[in-house]
Symmetry: C2
Subunit: 206 residues, 2 copies
Amino acid sequence: MPKLGMQPIRRRQLIQATLEAIDELGLADATIARIAKRAGVSTGIISHYFAGKDGLLEATMRHVLSDLGTAVLERRTALGNAPPEAHLRAIIDGNFDRSQTSRSVMKTWLAFWASSMHHRPLQRLQRVNDRRLYSNLSCQFRRVLPKQEARDAARGLAALIDGLWLRGALAQEGLNVERARQLAYDYVRVQLDAARHTRTRANDYA
Amino acid sequence: MPKLGMQPIRRRQLIQATLEAIDELGLADATIARIAKRAGVSTGIISHYFAGKDGLLEATMRHVLSDLGTAVLERRTALGNAPPEAHLRAIIDGNFDRSQTSRSVMKTWLAFWASSMHHRPLQRLQRVNDRRLYSNLSCQFRRVLPKQEARDAARGLAALIDGLWLRGALAQEGLNVERARQLAYDYVRVQLDAARHTRTRANDYA
DNA sequence: AATTTTTTATTGAACGGTCAATCAATAAAA
DNA sequence: TTTTATTGATTGACCGTTCAATAAAAAATT
């Protein structure tokens, strides 16, 4: 049933099938034959729409990454110029959005992380994402902390988020989103409290 | 030059070659042919000493894991029954030991993490390690924090350590061990400070 | 001491299997 | 008739494993 405008439909189907295949079989066993079968199409169609397996994997990573960007941005635009803590919480919430905490997406992320170490195109995507997270966090902390402290807080929070996420992907019981969010919130609160105390003491001296 | 007692020598050589191969090529391209070539032996020797590629990979992970366990234990036994903060710092130091922060080992860890999601034997090893870290941290925090707070502090610190490590493996500039340790120390200090303030306030009421 | 035998270590060609990519063939819409 | 969509058999490359052959040390025998 060849009609026009199949491209976006097939691309979506194949990306979804890729996520499922990586979830169930792992990246190493997610062959184009199995992905195509899962999507209900032939193998040839993958090369036709993605110019090969690498193209499909890259598109899949882009898709997940784009969802993440959207999840964060949606929450932040709803905030306007709210205080830093609200923005930091929004960034945390975005990173633990439903679109990022499903088993298949977390497993795919981990697989891409590993393979990005030796695959330039994926490496590029992963680094852009890493820096965006760090830069967003750093920028908000900077509104209430000195430069160096803001950087360290951002580095710590970024690592905490990734670590919670990594452990969630590996854990038998999966990721407890509520608990993970709370731990990240606590980290933010503590960092900002430190700033408040410093400010208070400074005022005391005045 | 076939002598007796080659087994331990060959095993060490092959595990080292595996780490190097994964570092340079990635797990997917670390074929037994390439590993064997790097070790300066033939492919057959791998099956002879490790009963196949899977056996070699599992042995490699066991080796790295064993180094980690030793690095932590060495520091902790030197402490005796020191205060919790000292033990927590020792655990952190062990996790950022030289044997665990070389590029090849960090890359191998990440590769094993990803593949452990679909490979039972590796999964078992990874989970044992995860729980040991969590249990050690939880146990020390418990000495000064209520049960629930201790658990959360342990979960947070474990995630922070793994996250710092993960980001170090992926970052262009590698892992800044000193900075990572400092961030983890700070997390510990803050958690313990919270306990001290609570205790002080309780005393105030008395 | 000289020899044969046994044991241990090692090789690498051969084999069966799997993979991604290709492309001629086909079919339905435009 | 032309264009777009799709198939799936074919191809060539590469993978892990196996195993008969080889070699040298060690042990046993003479």
